[in-house]
C-alpha cells in the first residue's frame, strides 16, 4: 500500500515541485503536488467533502534543519531520510540501545514508517518565512518564557508531582489536537465528519474532538479561554478556513501567548489528500505571523478509543518510583530515616 502510494505520488510531486520552484510567487500553494483542477465531492448539504480518516504523519520537521539550504529534497534525498529515520526508530527497540524501551515502535504500526503519509519534498513544514524557521521571539515572548521557566522551576522536578510533569504524560493535551494540528510520533490520525453547519475534527490521540461551527459568530470576548481555544469556520470556495482564538496559554505552542490566533486552511486536493495549512499570529511572541503546510493523507479507519487518563499507570508508577528512590536515598544516608 505504502509503496504504491510512493510510486503514484513520486512523479506528481517532482513535477509540482519543479513548477513551484519556477514560479516563486505561487510556490507555497502548489508545492504539495495537487492536481489544480480537482474539485472535491459534495456532502448532501453541499459542503466540499473532507470526511473520512486522515493522517498528518510525516518525517518532515517543522523547521528547516540547520545547514539545509534547499527548499525541496530530491526524491532520492527524501527516500534516504525516511529510511534512515525508520531505521533509527526501529533500533530504539533493540535491548540495550536506549536506557528504556517505552514502546516497541515496530509493533502495532506505531512507527511512522508504517503510517499513512503524504509525501512531501519540502525540507521544512514552515513555508513562510522563506528560511523555514520560526521567526525570532520578541522581547515580550522572551520575558514570558523566562517567567514560565521560573514557574516550572518552582513546581520542582518532573517526578515531584503530577502537576510538575509534562502535559502529554498527564493525558491532558497532546500535539495532534492543536490547533495547529501537529503530527505526533505515532497515531497521528484524524476523523472528519460534516453535518449541516458544522465540521468535526476528531484527533485519535486522547480522543480530542473539535466541533467547528460554520456561521458568522464572533470569538467570545472576556473570560472564556480554553486549552484548544475557541474555533469557528467558514468556506472560502473549496477551502475550509478555521479561525481559533481564546487560548488559555497553559499549553503554549512554541512559546505562544494567550493572544495567539491560528488560521487553518483545509483544501481537498485529491481523493486521498487534504492540503492543511496554518498561520500563527501572535504579537505577544513573534513580530510577524508565520505559516506552515502539512499534507494529510487518507488513512484506514476506524479509530479506536484512546482512553489515556483512565489507564495512566505510567504517571502513577513513576511517582511511586520517585518516592521510593527518595526513601532509599534517605535510608542510605541515615539508616532508619527512610522508613
Amino acid at each position: 500500500m505504502r509503496r504504491r502510494t510512493l510510486v503514484t505520488f513520486g512523479p506528481t510531486v517532482v513535477l509540482a515541485a519543479a513548477v513551484a520552484v519556477g514560479v516563486p510567487g505561487v510556490a507555497a500553494a502548489q508545492s504539495t503536488g495537487a492536481a489544480q483542477d480537482y474539485v472535491a465531492p459534495r456532502t448532501p448539504d453541499g459542503q466540499p467533502d473532507l470526511q473520512g480518516f486522515w493522517s498528518n504523519q510525516t518525517y518532515t520537521s517543522l523547521e528547516r534543519p540547520d545547514g539545509e539550504t534547499s527548499v525541496y529534497y530530491t526524491p532520492e534525498e527524501l527516500a534516504a531520510r525516511v529510511s534512515g529515520a525508520a531505521t533509527r526508530e526501529s533500533a530504539q527497540t533493540d535491548p540495550g540501545t536506549i536506557p528504556d524501551v517505552h514502546y516497541d515502535f515496530t509493533q502495532f504500526g506505531l512507527d511512522r514508517s508504517q503510517a499513512a503519509r503524504a509525501e512531501n519534498l519540502r525540507t521544512s513544514l514552515i513555508v513562510d518565512p522563506p528560511d523555514g524557521k520560526i521567526p525570532p521571539v520578541n522581547a515580550e515572548g522572551q520575558r514570558r518564557a523566562a517567567e514560565r521557566a521560573a514557574a516550572q522551576e518552582r513546581l520542582g522536578g518532573r517526578w515531584d508531582s503530577a502537576e510538575a510533569n509534562q502535559l502529554d504524560d498527564r493525558c491532558i493535551m497532546m500535539v495532534p489536537a492543536g490547533p495547529p494540528m501537529m503530527n505526533s510520533g505515532y497515531n497521528s490520525n484524524y476523523h472528519i465528519v460534516q453535518a449541516p453547519g458544522y465540521v468535526m475534527i476528531l484527533a485519535e490521540m486522547i480522543h480530542d474532538a473539535r466541533v467547528v461551527p460554520l456561521d458568522d459568530r464572533e470569538a467570545p470576548a472576556g473570560g472564556l479561554s480554553q486549552w484548544v481555544g475557541v474555533s469557528r469556520g467558514y468556506w472560502d470556495g473549496e477551502t475550509l478556513v478555521v479561525e481559533t482564538s481564546n487560548f488559555n496559554a497553559k499549553n503554549p505552542f512554541r512559546g505562544s501567548s494567550a493572544r495567539m490566533t491560528v488560521t487553518e486552511r483545509f483544501t481537498r486536493v485529491a481523493e486521498d489528500r487534504i492540503d492543511y495549512r496554518f498561520t500563527v499570529d501572535d504579537p505577544g511572541t513573534w513580530d510577524t505571523p508565520w505559516t506552515a503546510e502539512m499534507p494529510m493523507q487518507r488513512s484506514r479507519g476506524p479509530l479506536f478509543e484512546f482512553a489515556c487518563h483512565e489507564g495512566n499507570y505510567g504517571l502513577y508508577n513513576t511517582l511511586v518510583g520517585a518516592r521510593m528512590e527518595e526513601r532509599q536515598a534517605a535510608e542510605a544516608a541515615e539508616p532508619g530515616r527512610g522508613r
Binding site: 503530577a162 498527564r170 465528519v193 476528531l202 502513577y316
Partner: protein, 274 residues
C-alpha cells in the same frame, strides 16, 4: 408499566385512554406516541437529530426514584446535596440479581471513593447521555458522532460499516441503523468499569446497550435505552427520558477537560514532600 411521572403527564392530557390502549398494544414510548411528530429530514432523507441536547432530571444522581439527600462531601452542604427524582427506570426498580444488589448497595455506601466519574474517567453508556452537561449529535450518512462535554467523551456510531467491537473500551463500540423515525444504536464491547449514576448502579463487561432516539417535537427528543447484562440483572430493563435542545444562540460544546481537576485527588499522596 407507566412511570409515575408519565401517568401524571398523561392525566393532564386529553388522550389518556387512547394512549393507554395504543401504547400497551405497541409498546412504543408513551409521549413519543401521543405526539406522532414527524422529524424534519436531513438532505440524506433521514430524521434530523443534529443539535446540542441535554437531560433535565436527576438521573445522574440516581436513575431509580429517590428522595432528596445530603451531600457526600460535608463542606459542600446544600450545593451538592442530592435533589429528589421520580426516576427514569421503566417500572421504577432495576432488576438486580441478589448478589448484584448487595454490590450496588456497597458501591453506594462507598461512592465517594468508587464512582469512576469522580476521577474524570470516561462516563460510559448510557451515563454520559444524562449527565448535567450538553451532548452534541453530529450526523452524517456514514457516521453519527455523539460528543459529550463531560471529559470530552466521544462516541462514533457506525451507520453502514457495522462490525463487532474490536476490543473492550469505556464508551463501547456502537453500530446504528434507522427504524422509521428512530435512530437505533446497538453498543457492546464495554470494559465493565463504568457506572450508570452517582449512586452505585453498575454493570459488568457483558453489558449490551440498545438506545432509541426519536424526535418528539422541534426542541425535544425521546431517549430510550434498554440494558442487558445477565451477570448483573435478572432480565433486560429500560430507561426513558426526554432530552431537551439547548436553544440559546450559539450554544456549543465547551471544554471540560477535567483531568487536571482530579490530579491532586488521584496522585496527591505521591507528591514529593519537602
Amino acid at each position: 408499566m407507566l412511570m409515575r411521572w408519565e401517568k401524571a403527564t398523561l392525566r393532564a392530557g386529553v388522550t389518556v385512554v387512547t394512549c393507554a390502549i395504543v401504547c400497551a398494544a405497541t409498546s412504543v414510548p408513551v409521549w413519543g406516541q401521543t405526539t406522532e411528530y414527524r422529524a424534519p429530514r436531513g438532505s440524506d432523507g433521514n430524521p434530523d437529530l443534529n443539535g446540542l441536547w441535554q437531560a433535565l432530571n436527576s438521573a445522574h444522581w440516581d436513575v431509580e426514584p429517590h428522595g432528596a439527600g445530603p451531600s457526600v462531601v460535608r463542606d459542600l452542604g446544600a450545593l451538592s446535596a442530592v435533589p429528589a427524582g421520580l426516576g427514569v427506570v421503566v417500572d421504577d426498580v432495576i432488576p438486580y440479581t441478589a448478589d448484584a444488589l448487595a454490590q450496588r448497595d456497597e458501591n453506594r455506601a462507598n461512592r465517594l471513593r468508587r464512582d469512576p466519574a469522580i476521577k474524570c474517567y470516561l462516563p460510559g453508556v448510557p451515563r454520559g447521555m444524562y449527565m448535567p452537561f450538553p451532548v452534541q449529535i453530529l450526523q452524517s450518512q456514514q457516521h453519527i458522532m455523539i460528543l459529550h462535554e463531560f471529559a470530552g467523551a466521544v462516541r462514533t456510531v457506525y451507520m453502514d460499516d457495522h462490525m463487532p467491537a474490536p476490543a473492550d473500551s469505556w464508551m463501547g463500540w456502537s453500530n446504528g441503523h434507522w427504524e422509521g423515525e428512530t435512530l437505533v444504536i446497538d453498543t457492546t464491547g464495554f470494559n465493565g468499569m463504568t457506572w450508570f449514576d452517582r449512586s452505585g448502579n453498575f454493570h459488568s463487561e457483558a453489558l449490551h446497550v440498545v438506545e432509541r432516539l426519536t424526535r418528539r417535537s422541534p426542541e425535544t427528543l425521546t431517549y430510550e435505552v434498554t440494558i442487558e447484562d445477565p451477570n448483573v440483572f435478572t432480565r433486560p430493563w429500560t430507561m426513558r427520558m426526554p432530552l431537551y435542545r439547548r436553544v440559546e444562540e450559539h450554544a456549543q460544546l465547551l471544554e471540560f477537560r477535567c483531568v487536571e481537576f482530579v490530579e491532586d485527588l488521584i496522585y496527591g499522596h505521591l507528591r514529593k514532600q519537602p
